[in-house]
Protein backbone atom coordinates (compact mmCIF):
# COMPACT_ATOMS: atom_id res chain seq x y z
CA UNK A 1 0.00 0.00 0.00
CA UNK A 2 0.92 3.65 -0.32
CA UNK A 3 0.14 6.14 2.41
CA UNK A 4 0.11 9.92 2.02
CA UNK A 5 0.32 11.65 5.37
CA UNK A 6 -0.37 15.37 5.88
CA UNK A 7 0.88 16.33 2.43
CA UNK A 8 1.21 20.07 1.98
CA UNK A 9 2.46 21.61 -1.25
CA UNK A 10 3.00 25.28 -1.91
CA UNK A 11 4.18 27.08 -5.02
CA UNK A 12 5.41 30.47 -3.87
CA UNK A 13 2.58 31.88 -1.78
CA UNK A 14 0.01 29.55 -3.29
CA UNK A 15 -0.78 26.47 -1.18
CA UNK A 16 -2.31 23.90 -3.53
CA UNK A 17 -2.48 20.91 -1.16
CA UNK A 18 -3.58 21.52 2.41
CA UNK A 19 -2.54 18.49 4.44
CA UNK A 20 -3.82 15.52 2.43
CA UNK A 21 -3.83 12.13 4.16
CA UNK A 22 -4.96 9.08 2.17
CA UNK A 23 -4.27 5.35 2.33
CA UNK A 24 -4.09 3.72 -1.10
CA UNK A 25 -4.78 0.02 -0.87
CA UNK A 26 -3.08 -2.85 -2.68
CA UNK A 27 -4.92 -4.87 -5.36
CA UNK A 28 -7.38 -2.02 -5.78
CA UNK A 29 -7.86 0.80 -8.24
CA UNK A 30 -7.50 3.87 -6.06
CA UNK A 31 -8.93 6.88 -7.85
CA UNK A 32 -8.09 10.52 -7.28
CA UNK A 33 -10.84 12.65 -8.78
CA UNK A 34 -11.65 16.33 -8.71
CA UNK A 35 -12.06 19.43 -10.81
CA UNK A 36 -9.20 20.96 -12.75
CA UNK A 37 -6.90 22.79 -10.36
CA UNK A 38 -7.95 20.67 -7.37
CA UNK A 39 -4.38 19.42 -6.96
CA UNK A 40 -4.76 15.88 -8.37
CA UNK A 41 -1.71 15.93 -10.64
CA UNK A 42 0.45 17.58 -7.99
CA UNK A 43 -0.57 14.89 -5.48
CA UNK A 44 0.10 12.11 -8.00
CA UNK A 45 3.54 13.54 -8.81
CA UNK A 46 4.37 13.78 -5.11
CA UNK A 47 3.27 10.17 -4.58
CA UNK A 48 5.33 9.02 -7.57
CA UNK A 49 8.36 10.90 -6.28
CA UNK A 50 8.51 13.32 -9.19
CA UNK A 51 7.95 16.35 -6.98
CA UNK A 52 8.85 16.87 -3.31
CA UNK A 53 6.07 18.00 -0.97
CA UNK A 54 6.55 21.12 1.13
CA UNK A 55 5.78 18.97 4.16
CA UNK A 56 4.30 15.57 4.90
CA UNK A 57 5.22 11.95 4.37
CA UNK A 58 4.80 9.36 1.63
CA UNK A 59 4.99 5.74 2.74
CA UNK A 60 5.50 2.79 0.39
CA UNK A 61 4.44 -0.06 2.67
CA UNK A 62 6.77 0.39 5.67
CA UNK A 63 9.20 2.76 3.99
CA UNK A 64 9.14 6.54 4.26
CA UNK A 65 9.96 7.42 0.65
CA UNK A 66 11.08 10.97 1.37
CA UNK A 67 13.82 9.94 3.80
CA UNK A 68 15.48 7.43 1.48
CA UNK A 69 18.92 7.76 -0.08
CA UNK A 70 19.25 8.08 -3.87
CA UNK A 71 20.15 4.42 -4.17
CA UNK A 72 17.18 3.32 -2.08
CA UNK A 73 14.87 5.58 -4.09
CA UNK A 74 16.16 3.98 -7.27
CA UNK A 75 15.46 0.52 -5.90
CA UNK A 76 11.89 1.51 -5.07
CA UNK A 77 11.40 3.16 -8.42
CA UNK A 78 12.19 -0.09 -10.14
CA UNK A 79 9.00 -1.35 -8.49
CA UNK A 80 7.01 1.58 -9.84
CA UNK A 81 5.24 1.83 -13.18
CA UNK A 82 3.60 4.95 -14.49
CA UNK A 83 1.20 5.62 -17.32
CA UNK A 84 1.28 9.23 -18.48
CA UNK A 85 -1.50 11.34 -19.90
CA UNK A 86 0.26 11.65 -23.25
CA UNK A 87 1.69 8.10 -22.99
CA UNK A 88 5.24 9.54 -22.93
CA UNK A 89 6.56 6.94 -25.38
CA UNK A 90 10.02 7.70 -26.70
CA UNK A 91 9.53 8.87 -30.30
CA UNK A 92 12.87 7.64 -31.59
CA UNK A 93 12.25 4.08 -30.40
CA UNK A 94 9.95 1.40 -31.79
CA UNK A 95 7.12 -0.06 -29.72
CA UNK A 96 9.33 -3.02 -28.82
CA UNK A 97 12.26 -0.81 -27.81
CA UNK A 98 9.94 1.36 -25.71
CA UNK A 99 8.57 -1.61 -23.79
CA UNK A 100 12.04 -3.15 -23.50
CA UNK A 101 13.67 0.08 -22.28
CA UNK A 102 13.31 -0.54 -18.50
CA UNK A 103 14.71 -4.06 -18.93
CA UNK A 104 17.61 -2.80 -21.07
CA UNK A 105 18.39 -0.23 -18.42
CA UNK A 106 18.09 -2.27 -15.26
CA UNK A 107 18.30 -5.98 -15.97
CA UNK A 108 20.89 -8.32 -17.39
CA UNK A 109 18.41 -10.65 -19.05
CA UNK A 110 19.26 -12.21 -22.40
CA UNK A 111 17.87 -10.76 -25.59
CA UNK A 112 15.43 -13.67 -25.93
CA UNK A 113 14.19 -13.34 -22.36
CA UNK A 114 13.57 -9.65 -22.93
CA UNK A 115 11.77 -10.28 -26.19
CA UNK A 116 9.58 -12.93 -24.57
CA UNK A 117 8.65 -10.54 -21.78
CA UNK A 118 7.96 -7.70 -24.23
CA UNK A 119 5.73 -9.95 -26.33
CA UNK A 120 3.92 -11.18 -23.22
CA UNK A 121 3.24 -7.62 -22.04
CA UNK A 122 2.12 -6.46 -25.48
CA UNK A 123 -0.14 -9.48 -25.78
CA UNK A 124 -1.54 -8.78 -22.31
CA UNK A 125 -2.60 -5.31 -23.43
CA UNK A 126 -4.07 -6.70 -26.64
CA UNK A 127 -1.36 -5.64 -29.06
CA UNK A 128 0.39 -7.99 -31.44
CA UNK A 129 2.37 -7.36 -34.59
CA UNK A 130 3.23 -3.78 -33.72
CA UNK A 131 6.74 -4.42 -32.34
CA UNK A 132 8.52 -2.61 -35.14
CA UNK A 133 6.18 0.34 -35.44
CA UNK A 134 7.02 3.76 -34.07
CA UNK A 135 4.69 5.59 -31.64
CA UNK A 136 3.75 8.07 -34.36
CA UNK A 137 2.48 5.19 -36.51
CA UNK A 138 -0.10 3.89 -34.02
CA UNK A 139 -3.33 5.36 -32.64
CA UNK A 140 -3.70 7.18 -29.31
CA UNK A 141 -5.45 4.18 -27.74
CA UNK A 142 -2.68 1.87 -28.89
CA UNK A 143 -0.08 4.29 -27.52
CA UNK A 144 -1.82 4.13 -24.15
CA UNK A 145 -1.71 0.36 -24.26
CA UNK A 146 1.98 0.40 -25.15
CA UNK A 147 2.43 2.77 -22.18
CA UNK A 148 0.69 0.23 -19.94
CA UNK A 149 2.85 -2.58 -21.35
CA UNK A 150 5.99 -0.56 -20.62
CA UNK A 151 4.82 0.26 -17.10
CA UNK A 152 4.24 -3.41 -16.20
CA UNK A 153 7.28 -4.90 -17.92
CA UNK A 154 9.34 -5.00 -14.70
CA UNK A 155 6.37 -6.38 -12.71
CA UNK A 156 5.76 -3.29 -10.59
CA UNK A 157 4.24 -3.27 -7.12
CA UNK A 158 2.91 0.25 -7.61
CA UNK A 159 1.23 1.68 -10.68
CA UNK A 160 0.43 5.36 -11.22
CA UNK A 161 -1.90 6.42 -14.02
CA UNK A 162 -2.30 10.08 -14.90
CA UNK A 163 -5.56 10.62 -16.82
CA UNK A 164 -5.38 7.26 -18.62
CA UNK A 165 -8.55 7.97 -20.62
CA UNK A 166 -7.93 11.49 -21.76
CA UNK A 167 -8.39 11.92 -25.49
CA UNK A 168 -9.86 8.45 -25.99
CA UNK A 169 -13.30 7.45 -27.26
CA UNK A 170 -15.68 5.88 -24.67
CA UNK A 171 -15.17 2.33 -25.90
CA UNK A 172 -11.37 2.53 -25.84
CA UNK A 173 -11.59 4.21 -22.44
CA UNK A 174 -13.51 1.25 -21.06
CA UNK A 175 -10.93 -1.09 -22.57
CA UNK A 176 -8.09 0.80 -20.88
CA UNK A 177 -9.98 0.81 -17.56
CA UNK A 178 -10.58 -2.92 -17.73
CA UNK A 179 -6.96 -3.49 -18.59
CA UNK A 180 -5.71 -1.46 -15.64
CA UNK A 181 -8.17 -3.15 -13.29
CA UNK A 182 -7.25 -6.61 -14.55
CA UNK A 183 -3.52 -5.99 -14.23
CA UNK A 184 -3.99 -4.52 -10.76
CA UNK A 185 -5.88 -7.55 -9.48
CA UNK A 186 -3.74 -10.18 -11.23
CA UNK A 187 -0.47 -8.82 -9.89
CA UNK A 188 -1.57 -7.45 -6.51
CA UNK A 189 -0.52 -3.96 -7.49
CA UNK A 190 -1.29 -0.74 -5.61
CA UNK A 191 -2.75 1.32 -8.43
CA UNK A 192 -3.42 5.04 -8.16
CA UNK A 193 -5.39 6.64 -10.98
CA UNK A 194 -5.88 10.33 -11.49
CA UNK A 195 -8.99 10.81 -13.61
CA UNK A 196 -11.81 13.06 -14.74
CA UNK A 197 -13.63 10.28 -16.47
CA UNK A 198 -16.96 9.41 -14.86
CA UNK A 199 -17.13 6.06 -16.63
CA UNK A 200 -13.87 5.12 -14.90
CA UNK A 201 -15.23 6.25 -11.55
CA UNK A 202 -18.31 4.06 -11.88
CA UNK A 203 -16.47 1.12 -13.44
CA UNK A 204 -13.20 0.68 -11.57
CA UNK A 205 -13.60 2.97 -8.55
CA UNK A 206 -12.70 0.53 -5.78
CA UNK A 207 -11.50 3.38 -3.61
CA UNK A 208 -12.37 6.92 -4.68
CA UNK A 209 -10.80 10.07 -3.25
CA UNK A 210 -12.34 13.39 -4.20
CA UNK A 211 -10.05 16.42 -3.98
CA UNK A 212 -11.59 19.84 -3.77
CA UNK A 213 -9.51 23.01 -3.56
CA UNK A 214 -6.51 21.09 -2.28
CA UNK A 215 -8.42 19.19 0.42
CA UNK A 216 -9.82 15.69 0.63
CA UNK A 217 -13.57 16.25 0.25
CA UNK A 218 -14.92 12.70 0.10
CA UNK A 219 -13.83 9.06 0.19
CA UNK A 220 -15.77 5.98 -0.77
CA UNK A 221 -16.30 3.45 -3.52
CA UNK A 222 -18.31 3.35 -6.75
CA UNK A 223 -21.40 1.88 -5.09
CA UNK A 224 -21.46 4.69 -2.53
CA UNK A 225 -21.26 7.45 -5.14
CA UNK A 226 -24.94 7.31 -6.12
CA UNK A 227 -26.27 7.51 -2.60
CA UNK A 228 -23.80 9.98 -1.19
CA UNK A 229 -25.26 13.21 0.12
CA UNK A 230 -21.93 14.99 -0.27
CA UNK A 231 -22.74 18.13 -2.23
CA UNK A 232 -19.23 18.59 -3.65
CA UNK A 233 -19.26 15.00 -4.93
CA UNK A 234 -22.73 15.34 -6.45
CA UNK A 235 -21.87 18.61 -8.12
CA UNK A 236 -18.73 17.08 -9.56
CA UNK A 237 -19.96 13.65 -10.67
CA UNK A 238 -23.44 14.64 -11.77
CA UNK A 239 -22.52 17.98 -13.24
CA UNK A 240 -24.79 17.90 -16.27
CA UNK A 241 -28.64 17.92 -16.15
CA UNK A 242 -28.59 14.61 -18.05
CA UNK A 243 -26.49 12.90 -15.38
CA UNK A 244 -28.58 14.45 -12.60
CA UNK A 245 -31.66 13.00 -14.25
CA UNK A 246 -30.01 9.60 -14.53
CA UNK A 247 -29.09 9.69 -10.88
CA UNK A 248 -32.61 10.55 -9.79
CA UNK A 249 -34.00 7.80 -11.97
CA UNK A 250 -31.54 5.28 -10.54
CA UNK A 251 -32.31 6.30 -6.96
CA UNK A 252 -36.08 6.23 -7.51
CA UNK A 253 -35.98 2.77 -9.01
Amino acid sequence: MIRAKDIVKTFGDNEVLHGISIDFEASKCNLIIGRSGAGKTVLLKILAGLMPPTSGQVWYNDTDFLTLSKKEIRNIRMEVGMLFQGSALFDSMTVEENVRFPMDMFTSRTRKEKLDRVNYCLERVGLTGVNDQFPSEISGGMQKRVGIARSIVLKPKYLFCDEPNSGLDPKTSILIDELIQGITQENDITTIINTHDMNSVMQIGDHINLLHEGKLAWQGNKSEVLESKNEILSNFIFASPFLQHLRETALNS
Binding site: K45, A48, G49, L50, I73, R74, N75, R77, M78, V80, G81, M82, F84, Q85, G86, A88, F90, D91, F101, P102, D104, M105, F106, L154, F160
Partner: protein
Protein backbone atom coordinates in the same frame (compact mmCIF):
# COMPACT_ATOMS: atom_id res chain seq x y z
CA UNK B 1 20.64 40.01 -12.63
CA UNK B 2 23.60 38.74 -10.57
CA UNK B 3 21.19 36.71 -8.47
CA UNK B 4 19.77 35.18 -11.64
CA UNK B 5 23.24 34.36 -12.94
CA UNK B 6 24.18 32.73 -9.65
CA UNK B 7 20.93 30.74 -9.65
CA UNK B 8 21.58 29.41 -13.16
CA UNK B 9 25.22 28.69 -12.41
CA UNK B 10 24.25 26.75 -9.29
CA UNK B 11 21.58 24.82 -11.14
CA UNK B 12 24.05 24.10 -13.95
CA UNK B 13 26.63 22.78 -11.48
CA UNK B 14 24.03 20.53 -9.82
CA UNK B 15 22.91 19.22 -13.23
CA UNK B 16 26.51 18.50 -14.22
CA UNK B 17 27.21 16.76 -10.91
CA UNK B 18 24.24 14.52 -11.53
CA UNK B 19 25.25 14.03 -15.18
CA UNK B 20 28.75 12.93 -14.22
CA UNK B 21 27.60 10.31 -11.72
CA UNK B 22 28.03 6.59 -12.31
CA UNK B 23 26.03 5.31 -15.32
CA UNK B 24 23.11 2.93 -14.71
CA UNK B 25 24.15 0.63 -17.54
CA UNK B 26 27.18 1.26 -19.72
CA UNK B 27 25.83 -0.51 -22.80
CA UNK B 28 22.81 1.83 -22.92
CA UNK B 29 25.09 4.86 -22.61
CA UNK B 30 27.38 3.52 -25.31
CA UNK B 31 24.46 3.06 -27.71
CA UNK B 32 23.30 6.61 -27.08
CA UNK B 33 26.84 7.98 -27.38
CA UNK B 34 27.30 6.34 -30.79
CA UNK B 35 23.98 7.81 -31.97
CA UNK B 36 25.07 11.24 -30.81
CA UNK B 37 28.50 10.86 -32.42
CA UNK B 38 26.77 10.13 -35.70
CA UNK B 39 24.41 13.09 -35.34
CA UNK B 40 27.13 15.54 -34.35
CA UNK B 41 29.93 14.23 -36.58
CA UNK B 42 28.32 13.05 -39.80
CA UNK B 43 25.38 15.40 -39.43
CA UNK B 44 27.60 18.48 -39.28
CA UNK B 45 30.28 17.45 -41.74
CA UNK B 46 28.92 19.19 -44.84
CA UNK B 47 28.23 22.55 -43.22
CA UNK B 48 31.64 22.50 -41.48
CA UNK B 49 33.38 21.58 -44.76
CA UNK B 50 31.65 24.34 -46.69
CA UNK B 51 32.41 26.99 -44.11
CA UNK B 52 36.03 25.89 -43.74
CA UNK B 53 36.74 25.93 -47.46
CA UNK B 54 35.27 29.41 -47.88
CA UNK B 55 36.99 30.79 -44.79
CA UNK B 56 40.35 29.60 -46.16
CA UNK B 57 39.57 30.94 -49.59
CA UNK B 58 38.48 34.35 -48.32
CA UNK B 59 41.44 34.59 -45.95
CA UNK B 60 43.84 33.88 -48.82
CA UNK B 61 42.26 36.36 -51.26
CA UNK B 62 41.87 39.04 -48.61
CA UNK B 63 45.45 38.68 -47.38
CA UNK B 64 46.83 38.73 -50.91
CA UNK B 65 44.97 41.99 -51.51
CA UNK B 66 46.09 43.53 -48.18
CA UNK B 67 49.80 42.80 -48.44
CA UNK B 68 49.99 43.96 -52.08
CA UNK B 69 53.64 42.94 -52.60
CA UNK B 70 54.82 44.34 -49.24
CA UNK B 71 55.78 40.91 -47.95
CA UNK B 72 56.78 37.78 -49.88
CA UNK B 73 53.88 35.93 -51.56
CA UNK B 74 54.46 32.73 -49.64
CA UNK B 75 53.22 34.56 -46.53
CA UNK B 76 49.71 33.96 -47.86
CA UNK B 77 50.01 30.23 -47.16
CA UNK B 78 51.61 30.91 -43.80
CA UNK B 79 48.91 33.34 -42.69
CA UNK B 80 46.04 31.16 -43.89
CA UNK B 81 47.50 28.18 -42.02
CA UNK B 82 48.08 29.94 -38.70
CA UNK B 83 44.89 31.96 -38.87
CA UNK B 84 42.77 28.88 -39.36
CA UNK B 85 44.63 26.62 -36.92
CA UNK B 86 44.80 29.12 -34.09
CA UNK B 87 41.52 30.94 -34.44
CA UNK B 88 39.15 30.40 -37.33
CA UNK B 89 38.85 26.60 -37.38
CA UNK B 90 38.05 26.09 -33.67
CA UNK B 91 36.10 29.29 -33.06
CA UNK B 92 34.04 29.61 -36.24
CA UNK B 93 33.37 25.87 -36.38
CA UNK B 94 32.15 25.84 -32.78
CA UNK B 95 30.07 28.98 -33.21
CA UNK B 96 28.39 27.31 -36.18
CA UNK B 97 27.98 24.05 -34.25
CA UNK B 98 26.42 25.94 -31.34
CA UNK B 99 23.76 27.02 -33.80
CA UNK B 100 23.30 23.65 -35.44
CA UNK B 101 24.04 21.06 -32.75
CA UNK B 102 23.36 23.18 -29.66
CA UNK B 103 19.90 24.33 -30.69
CA UNK B 104 19.07 20.78 -31.71
CA UNK B 105 20.13 19.41 -28.30
CA UNK B 106 18.15 22.05 -26.42
CA UNK B 107 15.06 21.36 -28.54
CA UNK B 108 15.42 17.58 -28.21
CA UNK B 109 15.81 17.55 -24.43
CA UNK B 110 13.26 20.34 -23.97
CA UNK B 111 10.76 18.42 -26.08
CA UNK B 112 11.36 15.34 -23.94
CA UNK B 113 10.74 17.40 -20.83
CA UNK B 114 7.48 18.79 -22.20
CA UNK B 115 6.23 15.44 -23.45
CA UNK B 116 6.93 13.90 -20.01
CA UNK B 117 9.61 11.56 -21.41
CA UNK B 118 12.01 12.74 -18.72
CA UNK B 119 9.40 12.16 -16.00
CA UNK B 120 8.77 8.69 -17.44
CA UNK B 121 12.48 7.87 -17.20
CA UNK B 122 12.75 9.29 -13.70
CA UNK B 123 9.83 7.19 -12.48
CA UNK B 124 11.67 4.14 -13.86
CA UNK B 125 14.69 5.14 -11.79
CA UNK B 126 16.87 6.37 -14.64
CA UNK B 127 19.36 9.14 -13.82
CA UNK B 128 18.04 11.35 -16.61
CA UNK B 129 20.76 14.00 -16.41
CA UNK B 130 23.39 11.29 -16.85
CA UNK B 131 21.53 9.34 -19.54
CA UNK B 132 20.53 12.36 -21.63
CA UNK B 133 23.51 14.66 -21.17
CA UNK B 134 26.65 12.57 -20.67
CA UNK B 135 26.48 10.73 -24.04
CA UNK B 136 26.03 14.08 -25.80
CA UNK B 137 29.02 15.60 -23.99
CA UNK B 138 31.24 12.58 -24.69
CA UNK B 139 30.17 12.45 -28.33
CA UNK B 140 30.86 16.16 -28.73
CA UNK B 141 34.26 15.90 -27.01
CA UNK B 142 35.22 13.18 -29.48
CA UNK B 143 33.64 14.48 -32.68
CA UNK B 144 34.05 18.26 -32.47
CA UNK B 145 37.89 18.22 -32.26
CA UNK B 146 37.86 15.91 -35.29
CA UNK B 147 35.56 18.33 -37.12
CA UNK B 148 37.79 21.25 -36.11
CA UNK B 149 40.91 19.44 -37.37
CA UNK B 150 39.12 18.67 -40.63
CA UNK B 151 38.02 22.31 -40.85
CA UNK B 152 41.61 23.52 -40.39
CA UNK B 153 42.84 21.19 -43.14
CA UNK B 154 40.02 22.17 -45.50
CA UNK B 155 40.55 25.87 -44.85
CA UNK B 156 44.19 25.53 -45.90
CA UNK B 157 43.00 23.67 -49.00
CA UNK B 158 40.42 26.39 -49.62
CA UNK B 159 43.18 28.97 -49.48
CA UNK B 160 45.13 26.95 -52.00
CA UNK B 161 42.16 26.67 -54.39
CA UNK B 162 41.49 30.41 -54.16
CA UNK B 163 45.07 31.53 -54.67
CA UNK B 164 47.01 29.04 -56.81
CA UNK B 165 44.68 28.18 -59.76
CA UNK B 166 43.65 31.84 -59.97
CA UNK B 167 47.26 32.93 -60.36
CA UNK B 168 47.56 34.97 -57.14
CA UNK B 169 50.63 32.95 -56.19
CA UNK B 170 52.38 29.83 -57.43
CA UNK B 171 51.95 26.32 -56.10
CA UNK B 172 55.51 26.36 -54.74
CA UNK B 173 54.95 29.65 -52.91
CA UNK B 174 51.74 28.45 -51.24
CA UNK B 175 53.32 25.16 -50.16
CA UNK B 176 56.37 27.01 -48.87
CA UNK B 177 54.10 29.31 -46.87
CA UNK B 178 52.10 26.45 -45.40
CA UNK B 179 55.33 24.79 -44.26
CA UNK B 180 57.04 27.96 -43.01
CA UNK B 181 57.47 28.76 -39.28
CA UNK B 182 55.30 25.82 -38.25
CA UNK B 183 54.68 25.59 -34.48
CA UNK B 184 53.12 22.30 -33.34
CA UNK B 185 52.06 24.16 -30.19
CA UNK B 186 49.42 25.98 -32.26
CA UNK B 187 47.81 22.65 -33.14
CA UNK B 188 47.75 21.81 -29.46
CA UNK B 189 46.11 25.17 -28.82
CA UNK B 190 43.52 24.40 -31.51
CA UNK B 191 42.60 21.12 -29.82
CA UNK B 192 42.41 22.79 -26.38
CA UNK B 193 39.97 25.31 -27.83
CA UNK B 194 37.98 22.60 -29.59
CA UNK B 195 37.61 20.57 -26.37
CA UNK B 196 36.63 23.56 -24.26
CA UNK B 197 34.19 24.93 -26.84
CA UNK B 198 32.65 21.48 -27.35
CA UNK B 199 32.08 21.15 -23.61
CA UNK B 200 30.56 24.62 -23.40
CA UNK B 201 28.19 24.27 -26.32
CA UNK B 202 26.85 20.86 -25.31
CA UNK B 203 26.44 21.44 -21.59
CA UNK B 204 24.93 24.91 -22.00
CA UNK B 205 22.50 23.66 -24.64
CA UNK B 206 21.54 20.60 -22.59
CA UNK B 207 21.02 22.84 -19.56
CA UNK B 208 18.67 25.10 -21.49
CA UNK B 209 16.63 22.12 -22.69
CA UNK B 210 16.67 20.17 -19.43
CA UNK B 211 15.02 22.90 -17.37
CA UNK B 212 12.58 24.17 -19.97
CA UNK B 213 9.04 24.81 -18.74
CA UNK B 214 5.86 25.84 -20.52
CA UNK B 215 5.02 25.19 -24.16
CA UNK B 216 6.24 25.70 -27.71
CA UNK B 217 7.13 29.37 -27.22
CA UNK B 218 9.32 28.58 -24.20
CA UNK B 219 10.95 25.71 -26.07
CA UNK B 220 11.81 28.04 -28.95
CA UNK B 221 13.17 30.60 -26.50
CA UNK B 222 15.27 27.92 -24.77
CA UNK B 223 16.67 26.82 -28.10
CA UNK B 224 17.61 30.41 -29.00
CA UNK B 225 19.09 30.97 -25.55
CA UNK B 226 21.20 27.84 -25.96
CA UNK B 227 22.81 29.32 -29.08
CA UNK B 228 23.23 32.85 -27.72
CA UNK B 229 24.67 31.82 -24.35
CA UNK B 230 26.93 29.20 -25.95
CA UNK B 231 28.25 31.73 -28.45
CA UNK B 232 28.98 34.32 -25.78
CA UNK B 233 30.72 31.78 -23.54
CA UNK B 234 32.71 30.38 -26.48
CA UNK B 235 33.99 33.85 -27.38
CA UNK B 236 34.80 34.56 -23.75
CA UNK B 237 36.60 31.22 -23.40
CA UNK B 238 38.47 31.93 -26.65
CA UNK B 239 39.85 35.11 -25.16
CA UNK B 240 40.77 33.46 -21.86
CA UNK B 241 42.49 30.53 -23.60
CA UNK B 242 44.39 32.95 -25.85
CA UNK B 243 45.54 34.89 -22.78
CA UNK B 244 46.58 31.78 -20.88
CA UNK B 245 48.30 29.98 -23.74
CA UNK B 246 50.13 32.87 -25.30
CA UNK B 247 51.56 34.60 -22.24
Amino acid sequence: MIRGLLFHFGQYVLMMRSAMSRPDKLSMYWKETVRQMHDIGIGSLIIVMLIAVFIGAVAAVQFAYQIGGVVPNYYIGYVVRDLTIIELAPTITCLVLAGKVGSNMAAEIGGMRQKEHIDAMEVMGVNTAAYLITPKVIAALVMIPILVAAAAFLAVMGGYVASVPTGLITNAEYVQGVRAFFEPYFVFMMFVKAFVFAFILTTVSCYQGYYVTGGAVELGAASTRAVVVSDILILLADYVIALIMTT
